[in-house]
């Protein structure tokens, strides 16, 4: 009789361990934001749409192709303080080096950590042919994707 209890208890162990609640990260929870890059005319400082042939993150093989518009959203590296992108415009390449402070914030078990960024003023461009004339920082903190963070003058 006691053996039977033993078996029932053993079964209960398996049931309890098997029926653990799954935590699911609710859609719409805070998320890691991308940087928003605006393109403006170097001469009259007004917003000017651009047609980039390719965008490539340094250290990454895959290429983002054909961008059209005046607001570009790009991810930053969450495990570095530096993100480098190569922009190809009219078959000329310029490299944008973004220096940023990377701050990880814990949400909960199911969502884990997200990352916020603060763009540092030593963000620079290394020119190959020089289609980028200047880079300026508009809003240095990236906690959402509403504002334009940096401007590329060309």
């Amino acid at each position: 009789m006691i053996k039977r209890y033993h078996n029932i208890l053993f079964l209960l162990v398996i049931i309890i361990l098997g029926c653990e609640k799954d935590d699911i990260c609710i859609e719409g929870s805070e998320n890691t934001s991308r940087i928003t890059i605006g393109f403006i005319d170097f001469e009259n400082k007004s917003s000017k749409g651009i047609n980039l042939n390719t965008i490539r993150g340094i250290g990454i093989d895959s290429i983002i192709e054909d961008f059209n518009g005046d607001k570009l959203k790009l991810p930053l590296m969450v495990n570095s303080n530096k993100t480098k992108y190569v922009f190809e415009y009219n078959e000329t390449l310029d490299t944008l080096i973004l220096h940023h402070q990377t701050i990880h914030k814990y949400l909960n078990r199911s969502c884990g950590y997200i990352s916020n960024f603060i763009v540092k003023s030593d963000t620079e461009i290394s020119k190959n042919h020089g289609w980028i004339k200047e880079v300026s920082i508009e809003n240095d903190s990236i906690f959402n994707e509403e504002k334009t963070n940096i401007l590329i003058h060309y």
């Binding site: 006691i2 309890i16 990454i60 495990n79 884990g112």
Partner: protein, 240 residues
């Protein structure tokens, strides 16, 4: 009229109770064990949990163990406790971390099983107050991001730190069985329902695992556990 019936009922009830009690007294005197004794410190049992060392060795962790013990204080009541040391690597949904700590659980078990003469098995319920002090070291994690262009894995720097000096307190409701398989050697299994009372929260992290309490889920203070024990009993009196 009604009152009379109620009286009759109460009186008959008391009489029936009386007969039940006298019956139990009879069975006790049958087994020739001392009676009219409130305290019956009869045996001290101690042993180890078998599941923790097996789990820790199969997961390549450092040794985890739990020492268990109980002391019989009356016929059915036992003072019981567990002390454990846990070192476990936990691979969670987004975060991998290592949890190291010690815990102590103290309470009592109440045996509900009526043994035949010469047998010493138990089916029991119990209660524990438990306390754990521990540290959780974040080993690696995946940052939540809608974009997977760059790798979102972080395994160096940032929040890969050890959260020290954490502690948690909880109560456990225990049910279990102990079976005497050889003379004075018992195999036991118990299930525990844990209710977290308090814990110190680390900054920018949470207690996802508390040694002794086990997994802590979001917005929920309940947990569960079990152990599988091998215990040896030191009898204070010779058993018939």
């Amino acid at each position: 009229m009604k009152k009379k019936q109620i009286f009759l009922f109460i009186i008959s009830f008391i009489f029936s109770l009386n007969s039940i009690f006298s019956q139990t007294e009879n069975t006790e005197s049958d087994s020739l064990i001392k009676k009219d004794k409130l305290l019956n410190i009869n045996k001290l049992r101690f042993g180890i949990d078998l599941s923790n060392p097996i789990l820790s060795s199969s997961n390549d962790d450092n040794l985890s163990y739990e020492i268990v013990g109980d002391l019989q204080i009356t016929d059915d009541l036992y003072l019981a406790g567990e002390y454990g040391s846990i070192d476990r690597y936990i691979e969670d949904e987004n975060i991998n971390f290592n949890s190291v700590g010690n815990y102590l659980k103290i309470g009592f078990d109440y045996n509900m099983f009526n043994n035949w003469v010469g047998m010493d098995n138990s089916i029991y319920v119990g209660l524990r107050y438990a306390s754990s002090s521990f540290s959780n070291k974040v080993d690696s994690y995946t940052v939540r991001s809608g974009d997977a262009y760059f790798s979102n894995l972080v395994d160096n720097g940032y929040e890969n730190i050890t959260h020290n000096n954490l502690n948690g307190n909880w109560i456990e409701i225990v049910t279990g069985v102990k079976v005497e398989t050889f003379k004075n050697i018992y195999l036991g299994i118990s299930l525990r329902l844990n209710k977290l009372l308090s814990d110190t929260k680390p900054s920018n992290f949470d207690n996802l695992f508390i040694p002794g309490f086990n997994k802590v889920t979001d917005d929920n203070t309940w947990g569960s556990g079990f152990n599988y024990t091998l215990t040896y009993s030191i009898p204070f009196k010779k058993r018939k």
